[in-house]
Symmetry: C2
Subunit: 419 residues, 2 copies
């Protein structure tokens, strides 16, 4: 099943809004063998909408539109496409009643404003696509030749919600009804950290090409290098089997750098590990200024594991609050494994917890030296007195270097917990 | 001048990559009276590229493509469009030499791999658009009727760099040469915080509609409500004059909530204010877990102002490290203005600085009560012993609530510094 997408809106064309709907739909659809073969973005005028939809119908026969379903004069998607299909616009009593109920439920004092009546107008013969995420109902319009347009609202939360609730099930049912065993696109991401892209490729050797017939993409970022496996254009059962085999093959070689799959978050894994051991944690941060604490406490329910921490941005704080020795600072400098180790041990003792984690580094853009250039950072962990540390270097701007340092600290802790 | 954009790439169509190039170009272009009237996204096959470019040339006569200029077999933009123009592909010695120099400068040991020769192939009669940001040269191809295609690489850093360096100047020169005084789109954003969207609209009254003939959009987010003024379709001088008048009119009414324009960052403004007063700051954070410290230290050069802070996630830390009294916690709870005030005063004294700032709240999703529902937070500042505090409520998920609390703390500090 091939489809085209038409995104509608002046703000999109002017570049004030980034279109994330189209990419979202494409990913969801591909997993069900529905393929987006072209996308267009047009202004919200009736002529522009009708032109783009007409061309897409002629080429592909199935079109999804996003936007232009609101109650204002700019919202012309429905009448423009109704005219294209030669259908009149009629008033839908059920939609109007649900709009009235919606306004009442939201505490609107009087009757719903008449301007909203346009939202209850639909093309003759259209099917209504229920919108549980907002006020604009979706529309499905189909002609005698089976060419169709699905009109969805442009608000991302509504578009994405309706894609899951209504659109994918409807399209998947068409695929199933056709009796075809469609070629799908499915992917699986293995998240690695603590190893460079080139080192991963070297370690994978011949596996790096097309393990078990699936594509392998390296996606480097501050969290590490994600390995995205994509099974392209094959039946769903075969895609699942090949992805699973490729995952096993990769894990055998680079498993120790893999901390999770797909959306796994390292800080969440660490909280789970600590919770399982009934351990509490405190952080000591210099160059990251609170980023590590922020990441750990970003996870709901972190309070049973996280005690708190010290932001030791100035060296005075490292000495007074964390007990870093003046001699250590003099001999090795603030950015050193020695200082990081004393910070981790210091915060663990001071906060009376099981685990201390520390970060100190040169985030830049200033402050670099030949021995310790911008991007240099040291991290340390103290798990009940067993201290480990690491010195490394990150690339990128100040923000990215701080993110990399935070990830390195979490990864050092992961490895000292799970080996 | 009207143009169309064609974004090329399988990853874009599959939804694995979000297209930010198109929006970036549209914004930059509109400021010079160049209007994007349609965008398309197509697969990287030669037929798909040629089809989309042909249609766009017929409609609009000017096309910018993004992507498909690399050295691999997937990169077909140049030959596909050359064929459309009836031009042969020829080898460009100058591009080849610059590629060789580039590989050498990057430390490649031997000769540049032959596979890169495709990057030196260009359509006959094309102009080369210099790329200072990567290895793929851009191409400008124009026919006898003045219809043209500009081909740029898809890597966002390269596309955006070349838009600024090469493409906008070239298009602006065409506009200027035409002798027209083109209609432009220009915008100016006034950043407010600490006031709700509806309260802003009420305060603005009749100004809320179209102040001095420019559009006003309300863009609410966790940082506050941005007021975006956009002058649409008028000569540049008139746009500048109307924007300036509208800005003055808005400042007169809601100026005290405006903390900056366009990309202004509240934490950066605060550091400047503190630096000017030779004041140092320390933070005390409960529910935000380090986010406030992270924001203040995100600004390069923050070390002359930021001392550090305490992440007091557990109540024990509030008492032991910050001197919050047990009675205060018992009587008012951890999420209270009383506790926030003692945290701010405590961290200021403990760290020996001029300013203490604190945050305590219920970030959710658990932990809410009828008196203190999820989203409730209290912030306090202590400036050399003068303490102010605020209790308020934020909407959104855990992350957004924490962001709003951080912004509220910074804004309370801004107001106690600048009045």
């Amino acid at each position: 099943v091939n489809v085209e997408l038409v995104s509608i809106g002046a703000e999109l064309l002017l570049g004030y809004t980034i279109d994330t709907n189209a990419a979202h739909f494409a990913r969801e659809a591909a997993a069900h063998g529905i393929r987006v073969v072209r996308r267009a973005t047009v202004d919200d005028g009736a002529e522009e909408i009708a032109g783009a939809v007409r061309e897409a119908l002629e080429r592909t026969g199935g079109v999804i539109t996003s936007g232009g379903l609101g109650p204002t004069a700019d919202d012309l998607t429905k009448p423009a496409i109704a005219a294209l299909f030669g259908r009149a616009m009629i008033f839908d009593e059920a939609i109007w009643e649900s709009l009235r109920a919606r306004w009442k439920a939201r505490g609107w004092p009087g009757e719903i404003p008449e301007a909203n009546r346009t939202q209850a107008m639909v093309p003759e013969g259209a099917a209504i696509l229920e919108n549980r995420h907002g006020s604009a109902a979706g529309i499905w319009l189909e002609d005698a030749q089976g060419r169709w347009v699905a009109m969805l609202p442009g608000v991302p939360r509504e578009f994405k919600g309706m894609t899951a609730d209504v659109l994918i099930p409807r399209l998947a049912a068409r695929v199933a009804a056709s009796g075809a065993n469609p070629a799908v696109v499915r992917s699986l991401t293995l998240r690695t950290t603590g190893i460079a892209e080139s080192a991963l490729a070297d370690a994978l050797g011949t596996l790096a090409k097309e393990p078990h017939g699936v594509r392998l993409a390296y996606l480097p970022g501050w969290e590490g290098v994600d390995l995205r496996l994509t099974a392209v254009e094959m039946p769903a059962a075969e895609a699942a089997s090949r992805l699973s085999k490729a995952e096993s093959a990769l894990r055998e070689v680079v498993g120790k750098w893999i901390y999770g799959t797909n959306d796994a978050e390292l800080s969440e894994l660490i909280l789970t590990e600590l919770r399982g051991r009934a351990m509490r944690i405190a952080v000591a941060e210099s160059c990251t200024g609170g980023m590590l604490g922020m990441r750990l406490t970003a996870i709901p329910g972190s309070s049973d594991v996280v005690q708190g921490g010290t932001i030791a941005y100035d060296n005075v704080v490292k000495v007074r609050e964390l007990g870093v020795r003046d001699e250590t600072l003099m001999a090795h400098g603030a950015v050193s494994e020695e200082t990081a180790r004393e910070m981790a041990a210091g915060v663990r003792t001071r906060f009376g917890v099981d685990v201390g984690v520390s970060i100190t580094g040169v985030a830049g853009p200033g402050g670099g030296t030949p021995e310790k250039p911008v991007g240099t950072f040291c991290v340390a962990v103290d798990v009940r007195g067993a201290v480990q540390s690491l010195r490394t270097a990150g690339v990128g701007d100040r923000h990215e270097i701080r993110q990399r340092a935070t990830q390195a600290a979490l990864n050092l802790l992961r490895r000292s917990l799970v080996g």
